[in-house]
Amino acid sequence: MTFRARHLLGIDHLAPSDITALLNLAEEYVALNRRTVKHSDALAGMTQINMFFENSTRTQASFELAGKRLGADVMNMAVAQSSVKKGETLIDTALTLNAMQPDLLVVRHQNSGAVNLLAEKVNCAVINAGDGRHEHPTQALLDALTIRRAKGRLQRLTIAICGDISHSRVARSNLILLGKMENRIRLIGPATLMPSGVSEMGVELYEDMAEGLKGADVVMMLRLQKERMDGGFIPSEREYYHRWGLDADKLALAADDAIVMHPGPMNRGVEIDGTIADDINRSVIQDQVEMGVAVRMAALDLLARNLRAERGRAAAGVMA
C-alpha cells in the first residue's frame, strides 16, 4: 500500500499508485456493500465528523453511510445553520471541533481553499468533500472507479467533460486525476463557462459539442451551476440545452460503447435529456452513486490507517 497521506484535500497530491491503491481497496468495499451484512470494524472506536458549511444531502449521506459501515461514531454538523451564522470564524469553529477529539473530519465549504486552512488547524485527518470551485477528490475517485469498472481500464481513454467547467470542482479534480492516468481529456462548453488558462493544462478545448464528442469513450456531463453564477454566462437554458445538452443525436457521435456520467443532481432538459440519464445501457449515473460509498469507505479506511500509524510512531517516540 503506497497511500501515505495524512489528509485527502485534493487529487493533485496523489501519485498514480496512490489512486490505484485507493481504487483497489474500494473494490473490496463494493463487494462488502453488496452483502447482506455490510459491516467492517476498520474504524471501530474512531469518531468521524461530517461538517458541511454548504448543503449537500447526497454527499453527506454517502460519507455518513461509509463511516457507519466501517464502524465509526459518525456525527453530522450542519454548520451552515449554526455557529457560522452567529459570527464565528472558520478557525474558531476548527478549534472548537478539535477540542472534541475527532479522528476524521469530512468538510465541505463554499470557498476554495477553506478546507486546506481547516486542515492546518486540527489534529485529525481531513477529507475534502468539495471546496468552492477548487476540488472534490472523492467525486473524481468514484468517477475513476466507475470508469474502470465499465471500461476495464483507466488509461488511454478519450474522456469528454461537458458543460459548466468554470464553476465545477468536479471537473477540476477529474481532469487532474484522469490526466495523471494518461487519458485524453476534452473539455466542452461555452467559452463563458471555460476557465481561463485551462488550455495550458494538457486538455483539448471544444465549444462545438458535436466536434468534442466525436469518438469519446466517456461522456461526463456537469450540472449548470446557476447558484454560482453572478449574472448571465449563457443566454437561456433552452439555448444551452440546444447547444450543449446531451441528447440522443449528440451522444450518437461518441463511441458506440460510450458511457454517460453525471455527478448529480441533474437538471433534466438543461444539461441532459432525461431518457439518456435513465438509459441503463449507456448511463452509469446510478453506478457512480454506489461507487461513491465504496470510494469514501476506502478513503476513510486509508486515512485511519495512516493516522493510527502516525499516532503509533508518536507514542513509540515518547516511550523511547
Binding site: P190, E239, H242
Partner: protein, 427 residues
C-alpha cells in the same frame, strides 16, 4: 433562362477599384459576365442601353431603423423598401431598436416575415442584450441560426463591462459580429451637440469628442481580451482614429462605420436650432468631418451608411435638445454621397467600397460587388443630374431629412434586385 445585358455602362467596380465603360451580362438573377461596351448581346437577351451612365452594385445600407414593430406610423417595411428602391439601396440591414426590440428568436421571425413586404433584400441585426437593457445577453445562438447578421444594442451603450465581455466571449464561439456604439455613456449623457464654441454660443448641452475616444478604447480593450469580431457603428472624430488603427495593427478583427450625415454636414449646419440636424452622436467640427472623409478614402473607415432613422413631425417639433435624434436617409444616401465625389474627396469606386462592398463583406453577404456569380443587385444612376430635394417627395413615411431644400447632384435611374427591376422606368 432570363438574360439581360446592360450595354454602354460606366461600370463602378468596388472590388477591382475600377471605373470604366463596359457591359454586364445578367442571367437568372446573377451576374454572369462582363464585356466590352458594345458587345453583341446573346440571342434572346433583353438589352438595356445605359447610355454611358454609371452602373454599380446596389447599396448595402448598414443599420436602418424600420418602425416595425411599434412605430409603424413612422416607417413600415413596405415604405422603407420603396424608399430604398428609389435610393438605389438593394440590401437593407434592419436595426433591432424597435418597440419591443428584436431580442428573441420569435421577434426575429416576426420581422423576417414582415420584411417580405419590401421589394428589396432585408437582413436583420438582433439586440445584444434582452430588452436592450445591458443586463442579460440574448439567445445569440438561436438568433444566429435564424440569420441575424450582427448583434447590437444600438446607441444604448452597455455600461456593465462584465456583461459586455461575456456577450463578446459567447459571440466569439459562434463567430457572431458585435456592433458597438463607442461613446462614454456618462460623459455623453444629455448631450445634443459637440462641445466647443458653437454649442457654447447656442447654449446646447454638449459632449466632448473625447467621449468617443473613451468609449472606443474601452470596447477595443474588451475585444483584445475576448477576440470577438467587432464593428464600431460610427466613428466620427479624428481623435478616435489612432486607436482604431492600432487595434487593426494588433491583429484585432475590428471594423468601423460612419453615417453620411457626419461626412457631409458639420455642427454649424444646426444653425438656428434646426432639429433635422440633431443626431447621435452629434454633428462634429469641420476639421473632424474632413478627417473622416480622408479616413474613408484611406480605408480606415470601412462602411458608409444612411443610419436611416424615421421620426414623425411630433418627435422633431420640439426644442433642439428634446427633439428625437436621427434623419431618414435611404433615399438621400446616394446623392449625398456623390457630394463627396463631386468635391473630389472620393472616387466612385472608393465610395462604393464603403457603400456596398465592405458592408456586405463584413456581414457575410454575397451582395455588393460586380463579380461573376454575385446577385444582380444593381443601381443605374447619373452622377451629374442636379435637383433640389423636396422632403415631401421622399417615399419614407417620415420626412425628417437635413437635406430638405438642398441642391444635390446625382439621381437614381433604375434599381434591380436579383435581376428584377424594382425602380425606374423600364423603357
Amino acid at each position: 433562362m432570363n438574360t439581360t445585358v446592360f450595354t454602354n455602362a460606366r461600370l463602378i467596380d468596388p472590388e477591382a477599384q475600377s471605373d470604366e465603360i463596359g457591359s454586364l451580362l445578367v442571367r437568372d438573377g446573377s451576374i454572369l459576365d462582363r464585356g466590352a461596351a458594345d458587345e453583341t448581346p446573346p440571342e434572346g437577351a433583353s438589352v438595356i442601353d445605359c447610355q454611358g451612365r454609371a452602373l454599380a452594385p446596389g447599396l448595402v445600407d448598414w443599420g436602418v431603423k424600420i418602425g416595425e414593430p411599434g412605430e409603424r406610423h413612422k416607417e413600415s417595411f413596405r415604405s422603407a423598401g420603396l424608399a430604398a428602391c428609389a435610393g438605389g439601396v438593394t440590401t437593407v440591414i434592419a436595426r433591432p431598436d424597435t418597440l419591443p426590440p428584436i431580442d428573441t428568436p420569435e421577434s426575429l421571425e416576426f420581422v423576417t416575415r414582415r420584411a417580405l413586404d419590401a421589394p428589396v433584400n432585408i437582413r436583420h441585426m438582433a439586440a445584444l442584450t434582452k430588452a436592450r437593457e445591458g443586463r442579460e445577453m440574448v439567445e445569440i445562438g438561436f438568433l444566429n441560426d435564424l440569420g441575424a447578421v450582427a448583434f447590437t444594442d444600438g446607441v444604448r451603450v452597455i455600461t456593465d463591462t462584465k456583461v459586455l465581455s461575456r456577450c463578446m466571449t459567447y459571440a466569439r464561439g459562434l463567430n457572431a459580429l458585435i456592433v458597438g456604439h463607442p461613446q462614454d455613456a456618462g460623459l455623453s449623457r444629455g448631450a445634443a451637440a459637440t462641445s466647443g464654441k458653437f454649442s457654447s454660443l447656442y447654449g446646447i448641452p454638449a459632449v466632448s469628442p473625447m467621449a468617443e475616444v473613451m468609449g472606443l478604447d474601452r470596447d477595443l480593450a474588451l475585444v483584445a481580451m475576448t477576440r470577438c469580431r467587432w464593428h464600431a457603428d460610427q466613428i466620427t472624430t479624428a481623435a478616435a482614429l489612432p486607436a482604431l488603427i492600432r487595434a487593426r495593427e494588433a491583429g484585432l478583427d475590428v471594423t468601423a462605420g460612419i453615417s453620411i450625415h457626419h461626412l457631409t454636414l458639420n455642427e454649424f449646419d444646426v444653425g438656428d436650432y434646426r432639429t433635422f440636424f440633431r443626431f447621435t452622436p452629434p454633428l462634429r467640427t469641420e476639421e473632424d468631418r474632413q478627417a473622416m472623409v480622408q479616413a474613408v478614402a484611406d480605408g480606415v473607415i470601412d462602411v458608409l451608411a444612411s443610419f436611416h432613422t424615421p421620426q414623425d413631425e411630433e418627435s422633431k417639433r420640439l426644442p433642439f435638445e428634446e427633439a428625437a435624434p436621427g434623419a431618414v436617409g435611404l433615399q438621400t444616401l446616394l446623392p449625398a454621397s456623390l457630394r463627396l465625389y463631386h468635391q473630389g474627396g472620393l472616387s466612385l469606386p472608393q465610395l462604393w467600397r464603403a457603400l456596398s462592398l465592405n458592408p456586405a463583406r463584413r456581414l457575410g453577404l454575397e451582395a455588393g460587388r460586380l463579380s461573376r456569380g454575385a446577385p444582380a443587385d444593381l443601381v443605374l444612376f447619373d452622377p451629374d443630374t442636379p435637383f433640389v430635394l423636396d422632403r415631401f417627395k421622399l417615399l419614407s413615411k417620415s420626412k425628417n431629412t437635413p437635406f430638405d431644400g438642398a441642391r444635390m447632384q446625382g439621381r437614381v435611374l433604375g434599381t434591380w434586385v436579383g435581376g428584377a427591376r424594382v425602380y425606374g422606368d423600364p423603357a
